[in-house]
């Protein structure tokens, strides 16, 4: 008898593609939020699969904090060219210049929270009614309660206590004018699934995910890369280390891990042995126990 079992990666892929096609069909103007990180790179790959041989039927939107790794931006532009996608960039700096957002003070001012303002403004500017995010439920405890189709009110806010139940594969994307949805096709993926999928599909990723030499400063246990946005405190110093990044966000809050992993299989082995979550390297989540929930309610990714 034929074996009709699909592997876990094939099932996750099928589910994510199904979600993307539902969004294309149910919404008028979807957009894919692209950060340059591995999760959004995987989403672009899935979107290609979902609609091939047609082009991806929605643009990518990058909310650029100005604090990016230069490697991320280079990779982004190369990838957009390769897949023939349309890219929209909106700058947090513009929101600050217009007085819509106010820069944080301190030795490493984070623009993480400010992104929400630029993001909501961009969604309104283009009248996007659905925005794909690469968020996964395993990432953070507030995300564990997130729906695939997550309703946002006219202020872009999430109401975690009043979410629509999601049953079977029936997704309700109905909304009032001015409201929008965030959609998370990778909800059921774990960090390990993402890496295994990247390896299986041989998806190109920025080299800073692999081991390299870099000058870093150890701030409260987080290894931050040397950059213009960080001011050294008394007793702090840069040192050369053999590191790689497990997640990629802003330079001001993305911690490196000491690692010699040079290939996807070594990364997979390293993660299998790791005793810390990937968000453990992110200073933005350490601000309070409900930091993610609070940011998400405001309209964060």
């Amino acid at each position: 008898m034929t074996n009709y079992n699909l592997t876990h990666l094939k099932q996750l892929e099928s589910e994510a593609i199904y979600i993307m096609r539902e969004v294309a069909a149910q919404f008028e103007k979807p957009v894919l939020l692209f950060s340059g990180g591995k999760d959004s790179i995987v989403m672009v790959h899935l979107a290609q699969k979902a609609f091939f041989p047609a082009k991806i039927p929605f643009p990518l939107l990058h909310i650029d904090t100005g604090h990016n790794f230069v490697e991320t931006l280079d990779f982004r532009d190369e990838m957009v060219e390769r897949v023939g996608a349309r890219l929209i960039v909106r700058l947090v700096q513009d929101s600050i210049d217009k007085g819509r957002a106010v820069e944080e003070k301190g030795p490493n001012p984070s623009r993480n929270g400010l992104q929400t303002i630029t993001l909501l403004d961009a969604l309104e500017e283009f009248k996007f009614d659905a925005a794909f995010g690469g968020g996964r439920r395993d990432e953070e405890k507030a995300r564990a309660k997130e729906r695939f189709f997550s309703h946002r009110d006219e202020f872009g806010q999430w109401d975690p206590k009043n979410q629509r139940p999601e049953l079977w594969n029936l997704f309700n994307g109905k909304k009032q004018i001015g409201e929008h949805f965030r959609v998370f096709p990778l909800s059921n993926w774990t960090e390990m699934d993402v890496w295994q999928y990247i390896a299986q599909e041989q998806i190109p990723i920025p080299y800073i995910y692999f081991t390299h030499q870099r000058e870093v400063v150890n701030r409260n246990g987080t290894l931050l890369s040397k950059c213009d946005f960080i001011t050294l405190l008394k007793d702090e110093f840069y040192e050369q280390k053999q590191i790689r990044f497990r997640t990629i966000g802003d330079m001001t809050c993305t911690g490196a891990v000491e690692s010699s992993a040079n290939s996807l299989e070594e990364i997979i082995e390293e993660i299998a042995a790791s005793r810390v979550t990937e968000r453990g390297t992110r200073a933005d989540d350490k601000r309070s126990e409900a930091a993610m929930e609070d940011r998400k309610k405001q309209g964060y990714f």
Partner: protein, 424 residues
């Protein structure tokens, strides 16, 4: 790129299971134990919940804090919503839909169970089969979960006695004979001490079966989906409008039942036109055969008018095409179901209007008795109803196919999802 050294993950499959129980029967402890013993809890997560437990004044590390992600939940010490948790062994990836046992249990259990292959039912060894056990099992059975693992927990509190376990097993088997669950396992465990969860218990040498994790890893789910009745609801039509693919017309969707082969003759519903499958593809891959639950793009030999909401099926094996549909409904909203009321219905990729014609009966979910005298269906109620839809739906019985046999009811004005229906 070099070949992967250890690529066993390319053979892993996926099991989705649901757990139900109340605060006291050790559900959070059990999940915590599964995650902890399979090394799926990380140090920073453990540090964070240790810190929160201290802050709350708990005398032990409260593993429930792992699943209770929202601020309100941690403040009130309750679980509000279904929480999803993940772990994997070299054999399988697991998705746990952890549903709260007390608040809105029906709504949450039905949601969690709708995608699950397996349900874990927890029974406190000191109390045996109670009302809640029956309620959880009934919902699992109603949602057509094919595998139940009954964990008789807190065996340490009954001195690991075989008689206690055997008595509960007998009681449960008597009750469950009226349910339609083909595969039921019984395991005596202590979630707190870890007996028979991941590691074999040394305290219960009389138990010869597998541990919970062994059972979860080895339960055979390959026959759970429907591979007989070919169903392909069209989600989206791919028309590239490019020079290279000028005449390309692909039908995108997920196979929701059966198998499709290149060359198969297919019928398009509702038009009734027939054609042959020319290709089944996905990016650069070409498939000779595709089966449920694969997402694919199909092309046909002839150019016919097909759009979202249509369904490709095989000639000798069509679904029921009907506007009058009988179903079991689970109501998820505070606003009561209105007889004569008009609602929207979402079924596969199709959306139609419907009117509620009749409430036949309501089910007492503790006793499974039909209540014909009380015909109000409100939040968390389950009952049998008859609806009429504005256009025909292409349906199968829910017990034959979960995906073509299920629908949701949506409020036309507030857009809320009000009810979950299983077609009879």
């Amino acid at each position: 790129m070099t070949a992967l050294k250890d690529n066993s993950y390319l053979q892993m499959d996926l099991l989705r299971f649901t757990t139900a129980g109340s605060v006291d029967d050790g559900k959070s402890t059990l999940i915590g134990r599964l995650l902890y013993d399979t090394k799926s809890i990380f140090e920073d997560q453990l540090d964070a919940i240790e810190e929160s437990s201290l802050k709350r004044g708990d005398s032990y590390v409260n593993l429930a804090l792992l699943t209770d992600g929202l601020r309100a939940e941690r403040e009130q010490g309750i679980t509000i919503d279904v929480a999803y948790r993940y772990f994997a062994t070299p054999k399988r990836k697991f998705i746990i839909a952890d549903t709260p046992g007390h608040i809105q249990y029906t709504r949450n259990m039905v949601t969690g169970a709708s995608t699950a292959n397996l349900a874990i039912i927890l029974i406190d060894a000191r109390h045996g089969v109670v009302e809640q056990t029956c309620r959880h099992s009934f919902i699992a059975s109603l949602l057509q979960i094919k595998h139940i693992v009954v964990c008789v927990n807190k065996m340490d509190l009954v001195d690991f006695k075989e008689e206690v376990f055997e008595k509960i097993k007998k009681d449960y088997s008597e009750f469950s004979s009226s349910l339609s669950v083909p595969d039921i396992h019984f395991i005596p465990i202590s979630a707190l001490l870890g007996d028979n969860v991941v590691d074999v218990s040394e305290n219960m040498p009389w138990y010869k079966g597998g541990t919970l994790l062994y059972t979860l890893e080895n339960v055979n789910i390959s026959g759970d989906l429907n591979y007989q009745d070919a169903r392909f609801p069209v989600q989206w039509v791919i028309r590239p409008q490019s020079n290279e693919f000028h005449d390309f017309r692909g039908y995108a969707g997920r196979i929701e039942g059966g198998t499709f082969n290149v060359g198969d003759e297919v019928v398009v519903l509702p038009s009734g036109f027939t054609s042959k499958i020319k290709s089944i593809e996905m990016l650069n891959e070409q498939f000779q055969q595709a089966f449920s639950p694969m997402s694919v793009t199909m092309t046909l030999e002839n150019e016919i008018d097909i759009s979202r909401g249509d369904m490709l099926v095989k000639k000798d094996n069509p679904p029921k095409v009907s506007q009058d549909i009988e179903l079991m409904i689970c109501w998820l909203n505070e606003k009561k179901l209105q007889v004569g009321g008009k609602y929207l219905v979402k079924h596969t990729t199709k959306e139609v209007k419907c009117m509620i014609k009749e409430i036949k009966y309501k089910v007492d979910i503790n006793t499974l008795n039909k209540k014909e005298e009380d015909l109000t269906i409100g939040l968390n109620d389950i009952g049998k109803i008859l609806i009429r839809t504005s256009n025909p739906l292409f349906v199968d019985d829910y017990n034959k196919n979960r995906f073509t046999g299920s629908l949701i009811i949506i409020d036309e004005f507030t857009n809320e999802t009000l009810g979950a229906g299983m077609i009879l």
